[in-house]
């Protein structure tokens, strides 16, 4: 499977997990993506990869693993934006920006979005 397709699948799987109210089994994710005609093992592979990258948490329930997003979509967006705006405290060099424009209120809102996620 090529990288672009794998990336697209990871995204689709995350969408399912974010939409689900509670941790989902591989079977449930597979069923939610039924219209894509994916193999069960493919969905399992993607979930395992996502868990290895720490964006998905997994817990055992009986004989099956249940998967849940490690953070909400909003928190991930906030994390991206904080880094893009160079507000992470670490004056790193990961990105090259065009120009930044952020008000202090907006920056506070982003930080709060992340902190909320860490508490829950």
């Amino acid at each position: 499977m090529d990288v672009a397709r794998l990336g697209e699948l990871e995204r689709a799987v995350m969408e399912v997990l974010w939409a689900s109210q509670e941790p989902a089994s591989v079977r449930a994710v597979h069923a939610a993506l039924a219209d894509r005609g994916l193999a069960y093992t493919t969905v399992m592979t993607v979930l395992t990869r996502l868990a290895a990258k720490n964006v998905v948490r997994r817990e055992r329930a009986g004989r099956a693993w249940l998967y849940a997003p490690a953070a909400s979509r909003e928190e991930y967006v906030a994390e991206l934006m904080l880094e893009a705006l160079e507000l992470t405290g670490d004056r790193g060099s990961a990105l090259v920006r065009f120009a930044q424009s952020v008000t202090s209120d907006e920056a506070d809102a982003l930080r709060q979005a992340l902190e909320r996620g860490e508490k829950t």
Partner: protein
């Protein structure tokens, strides 16, 4: 001893060029040439500093620096305390610089990998860029083997289509010209000495020159005005909510970029530039060859 004096002379040359570069106005007209000079001068300064310390410390051996270093383990007892201290300082400095660069590369690579992953999960692929759904306006380039150009929904709303195209061309220029590689060594140095006002100023200067290179490249295909007005919008938008104290800076880097896009100066290429390059390269050559030549 003569080695140490040569190294000091090379270092002094580099310091003089740094002072000239920080003061000059032509750098904004010819950012690329300025960046080249910055890079070789920075390298010269570091090589010469280490060379001077080692040259003084190893002078009693009467050899070139590298041959003398090989002798060091066996004959370290012959050095008095000053020479020993200089050798130790030189070696520590060299090791410290290398380790710091490697650590910075590693942490940057890790941050980029995480950023890339999150983009894959939450950004919407549009034909021209990845789009992050957030009202704050940002546009940036995530460097890497396959660089990603990212805009926020806020940036799309803030800019007209022509302006956005120019901004994206600017980001593609960063990606194509591998600007992150130009900035990275200087940023790593600053991380070593975060309190240094001089280094902070140098890094800010380099970052600004890199932006100007990308501005020039984007302006060639998309015109100067869309880029200038895009910068102005970003600037005005950001300034609106900042507390009063933060506005005290009279000439921000963004204003400098807008000005040179609107009123391009046709100032001639500085005659001093080739001369300065030649002098610094000679200094670097001298400095580096003193490590190898067995005197």
């Amino acid at each position: 001893m003569i080695l140490a004096w040569h190294q000091l002379a090379a270092g002094a040359t580099a310091v003089a060029v740094v002072a000239w570069l920080l003061r000059s106005r032509w750098t904004h007209t010819h950012p690329r040439a300025a960046l080249v000079l910055w890079q070789i001068t920075g390298l010269t300064l570091i090589v010469a500093t280490i060379g001077a310390l080692l040259g003084f410390g190893l002078a009693p051996f009467n050899r070139g620096l590298l041959p003398a270093l090989f002798l060091l383990p066996a004959r370290v007892g012959e050095l008095d305390v000053w020479h020993f201290a200089a050798v130790a300082a030189g070696l520590t400095l060299a090791g410290w610089l290398v380790v710091n660069q490697v650590l910075c590369l590693r942490s940057t690579a890790r941050a980029r990998a995480r950023h890339r992953l999150l983009l894959q999960l939450v950004a919407r692929p549009a034909p021209d860029a990845l789009e992050v759904d957030h009202p704050i306006a940002v546009a940036y380039c995530l460097p890497g083997r396959t660089p990603r150009i990212v805009v926020s929904a806020g940036a799309r709303r803030l800019l007209t289509d022509t302006e956005l195209d120019a901004v994206l061309a600017h980001e593609r220029a960063h990606a194509r010209e591998r600007h992150h590689l130009v900035v990275a060594p200087f940023q790593a140095l600053r991380r070593l000495l975060p309190g240094s006002a001089l280094l902070t100023r140098v890094v800010a200067t380099i970052e600004l020159l890199v932006e100007m290179c990308a501005d020039d490249r984007a302006a060639r295909t998309h015109g100067r005005e869309p880029l200038a007005s895009a910068l102005e919008r970003f600037h005005a938008h950001g300034v609106a909510g900042t507390p009063a104290g933060a506005l005290a800076v009279a000439d921000t880097p963004v204003q400098a970029r807008i000005r040179r896009l609107r009123e391009p100066q046709r100032s001639a290429f500085p005659a001093m530039w080739p001369a300065a390059c030649l002098v610094v390269l000679t200094a670097l050559g001298t400095s580096a060859s003193l490590f190898a030549v067995p005197l």
